[in-house]
Structure formats: structure tokens, C-alpha cells
Amino acid sequence: MLRTPMKLQQFSDQDLVRLYLNGEESVITELLNRHKSKIYTSIYLLVKDQYLAEDIFQDTFVKVVNTLRGGKYNEEGKFLPWVMRIAHNLVIDHFRREKRAPVITSADGTDILNLIQIHEESMEERMLREQTHADLRAMIQLLPDEQKEVLIMRHYADLSFKEIADLTDVSINTALGRMRYALSNLRKLMKVKEVS
């Protein structure tokens, strides 16, 4: 049965997964569109490279599809935290292969920051906007890894602290504490920037 995109939006993630497993494979488009920005942004802020983030994002969803087809999806869990766990593990695998800690980069290309397409924007305004984005991204990258991870998963992946705690194998209190320290450190960094 063909379902219009409007109706698909009314289905829960679990319902869409069940439909997909029952052969209505086109519904994966709705699942993908629903969560792509959260997952991709989280990956991108962790790996800081657009093309690498695209690869890991693609690998994540290939794994998602393969796991669904293999009948190994646990219906009791929520879809987004499960996908984020897959993405998180792939990011960790990447860093292990690279055997390096994330480094701050500033040469990502202006197309990455062009989220807001202001066609009449002056060059000065564009430079200021891009600099602001770059500054905030750089500040996030300065955070200790565990704090950055919690901030990204909380804000961009929209995971609960319990889900973050489960994914990173810490207690909820630890996850909460890391978030508070992340915010506290961001505040310090922003104050330093204002003074400078």
C-alpha cells in the first residue's frame, strides 16, 4: 500500500521500522529524513571533517539496514539512540584506526557553514557569520572529549541523559556532570573570547 509522505510523518519510529521489515522498504526514507541532521551533525562535530562524516553517516545507515534485515533489531529499544550508538562506535573505530585524538581544524571550507543561505549578505557579514560559527565550533573542540561527546549527543542527537549514560557506559550522574562541566567550560571560553 502506498503511503503519502504526510501520513508517514504521523508514524512513530517503531512503526516505520515494522513497516520496513514487513516489506514497505520505501518508509526508510522517512526515518532517514527524520533523523539525518541530528545524526550527521553529531558525527561531523566529533570528526570535524565533512567528507569523513559523510562516509561514517553512510556506513551507519548501511549497518542499520543490514541489522534490520538480519532480524537483529531489538524492538524494545528506541530507534534514534540505537542508531547513535552505531554511529558513535564507528567514530571510535575511526579514531582507533587513525590513532590520534581529534585536532582542531579551521580549514573546513565555507560550504560547510552555509547553513543559512543569505543571498544578499555582504562579504563582511558573511565573514562575521562564518567566523562566529568557526569560533563556536573551535570552542566545542577545545572541550575535553567526554564533555564534548555529552554536549553533542544531548544537544544535536537529542538523547536523554540516561541514553547518553548507556551509550558511553557511565552513570547518569556522570553524564549530567559532564554536561554541566561542558557548559561551564564553554562559558569560560566565551568570556575569554569577549575579553580578547
Partner: protein, 63 residues
């Protein structure tokens, strides 16, 4: 150079001698700060390219 910090005692846990009022004010300040930077954080949101989406869908949807 700005030093960032991680304590072994997260502020969410109570400390000996720390009054509940102090912890609440700090928590409120953190929440207000987070609210103030959310718009900036949201401006960093990105989506993957259409090409990547197409590759995923090609794998996920069998003809």
C-alpha cells in the same frame, strides 16, 4: 591559553559543606547559559549531502 577542567566530583553531586541554595543557583546559571547559546549551537546543525542519502536509499530499498 584557556584551561578547561574536569573534576572528579561532578557538580551534580552534593559536596560536603555545600548548601543546596548554592547548588541551585549554579544550576540555574548553567541552564540560563545553555538557553542563551542554543541558537548559536543550532546554527551548526548540518545535513548530509543528497548524494549520500541516495547511496543509502539505493542500499535500503530493493527494487
Amino acid at each position: 591559553m584557556v584551561k578547561t577542567s574536569t573534576s572528579t566530583n561532578p557538580p551534580a553531586l552534593s559536596k560536603a559543606g555545600q548548601t543546596p541554595a548554592y547548588r541551585d543557583v549554579a544550576q540555574i546559571e548553567d541552564e540560563l547559559f545553555y538557553d542563551s547559546i542554543k541558537p548559536q549551537l543550532n546554527q551548526l546543525i548540518k545535513a548530509p549531502s543528497e548524494a549520500t542519502i541516495e547511496l543509502i536509499l539505493a542500499h535500503a530499498i530493493r527494487k
